[in-house]
Amino acid sequence: MLPASLVILIATTITLHATTIYVPDNFKTINEAVKNSSPKDTIIVNNGSYTENISITKPLTIKSSKGADASIVHALIKSEPVFKISNANEVSIVGFTATGSEIAGIDLDNSHNGQFLNNKTVSNKNGISLYSSNNNIMANNIADSNEQYGIYIEASNGNTLEKNIANTNKDKGIFLNSSSYNNLLNNTVNLNAWDGIMLWSSNNNLLKDNDVLRNRYAIVLGSSDNNTLINNSTWANIYIILPVVLIYIGILVYIIQKNLSHFIYRE
């Protein structure tokens, strides 16, 4: 039987097309598959728990076969990100749980035009972190319960964050730092210890249809200009007001019922 790497090499040479690599069928670890892949290859990861730090420096698509709940990647070296994408364009990571890193679940550095979909980045320092990375799409990710930020974006422009969830992080839900022309659409950002969404020194961003509830502060803008905020829900203090209103309604309902009973029973 030919070694897996040789099979892949032959397949790549003959077809001159992108190859699909399976983990753990072709390679036991995701990192091994990444190292032995060529640009534009697709790596399909079967369900299971993997303990490793994955470094990506070329255009690749890495997908889990059964979604984020079935494919869980724990950081082997905690001081490194679980997925580190550096100086690589058009990287796609789809359907993983990335957890246990003291840096980030998914970390992009100078990487552009990528897609990060349906991932769960929980219990890291930051869920998803972008530095100097432009025009990436992050959608349907869950970045909950991280030590600092759910999603942190620094010096990165033209990214789209859509339908992500960033709840119960210990600092901010989504933090844009010196980043412009990003679109934040339909995200859910609740119960974070400080700001739901913070824009610092960030201009010309679009925040539309986001739910930003029960954070210390909902949407905070500092040194930021020309940002567009449309139809965001930021009912920061409803949880204090609503019970009081309901008790008042209860008193009114009691008075109404009392008068009704007087009317009906003629007491």
Binding site: N167, L213, S233, Y239, P243, I249, V253, S261
Partner: protein, 123 residues
Amino acid sequence: MFEITTILASLGLILATVSFISGLQAVKNKGSADSKIHKLNGYLSFVIYILLAGSSIGGKEVVRLWPVAAWASGLVIICIKIWVVRSGRAYKYASWVGIMLIILWLVIIYTHIQLGSMSFLNL
């Protein structure tokens, strides 16, 4: 905008408030109208409590001990309240148990506001 659990919890707090006030008035005035209002609103809020508990526990893939214990504790408080009033024993503490029911509903409303099942206490 609001989820069904938020609406149910809000309705539950309103009915519990009505039941609490009418209960105090029933003890004070010995009026049958207040007693009827107390019972009607008490039964309705109990039904809503069961619906909320069922949707909360049944709506999760994995049933965890902590939410079940929390909902069961609430049920115990409701049962104690009914027992205290019906048996006539410890009747003087009935209003205190009533206050506990209001606090119970405040906890429920707080955990169900806006976010539905994704609540602060994750019940």
